[in-house]
């Protein structure tokens, strides 16, 4: 059942057993938590950056906002390459062909 992967190995059933153990541990820790927690009060509401409005939804564009914004300068350059112009698409094919020619004729 164990898959050898060069340096190491991988056995999903072993992993599942380990995961079950960790879950059990987490449950034990959780069961020793505070008893004075009450259901059905404000404590159950999700905290959405202080947003009080009912039914507020963090849309797909907003999750990981900082992460995406951090990457944006790099990604915008990549996006500019996806111009949607069919000539550019063919241009990239010519570039790759040129690289391949360089490698097979000069490099190898």
């Amino acid at each position: 059942m164990t898959l050898l992967t060069g340096h190491g190995f991988w056995n999903p059933l072993l992993w599942l057993a380990a995961a079950a153990g960790v879950t059990l541990l987490a449950l034990v820790v959780w069961s020793r938590g505070r008893r004075d927690y009450t259901r059905g009060t404000d404590r159950e509401l999700p905290f959405l950056s202080g947003e009080k409005m009912e039914g507020a939804h963090v849309g797909g564009g907003h999750l990981y906002w900082g992460f995406v914004e951090g990457l944006r300068p790099y990604v915008e350059r990549l996006r500019a390459l996806h111009s949607g112009l069919v000539n550019d698409y063919v241009g990239w094919l010519v570039v790759i062909l040129a690289v391949a020619f360089l490698i097979v004729l000069v490099g190898g």
Binding site: R79, S83, G84, L85, V86, N87, V90, G91
Partner: protein, 115 residues
């Protein structure tokens, strides 16, 4: 040297077609560029099968000791031409549909899908 002329012509055709593909913005001209590349390749295929002084490769009519040109490249070229017909027809059909929607054939304005 002179025997290589067909191959040089083929490569010139391929490069011409590529030039059209790279620098012509009109979608119809892009398709024409593809056709030029294709004709260059087809010509190359036929040229590889040519035998100097060879005759048509049909056994029934051939004199006993005649040299024949190779039939395989001709069969390949025929197949390739048929495939080219299908691809060209399909591409032109898409161009017609694009023109119907966008009222333009300028590739720079047909960039709804980008980024």
């Amino acid at each position: 040297m002179i025997g290589n002329t067909p191959f040089v012509v083929c490569m010139v055709l391929v490069l011409l077609g590529l030039w059209a593909l790279l620098f012509r913005r009109n979608l119809i001209k892009v398709v024409i560029g593809i056709k030029i590349v294709e004709n260059g390749v087809n010509l190359y295929l036929v040229a590889t099968g040519y035998v100097r002084g060879g005759i048509v490769p049909i056994y029934t009519y051939a004199p006993p000791d005649a040299a024949m040109v190779l039939p395989t490249p001709q069969a390949l070229t025929l197949t390739s031409i048929v495939i080219g017909l299908a691809t060209t027809a399909l591409m032109l059909a898409f161009v017609v549909v694009i023109h119907r929607h966008k009222k333009t054939l300028d590739g720079r304005k047909v960039t709804e899908l980008s980024g």
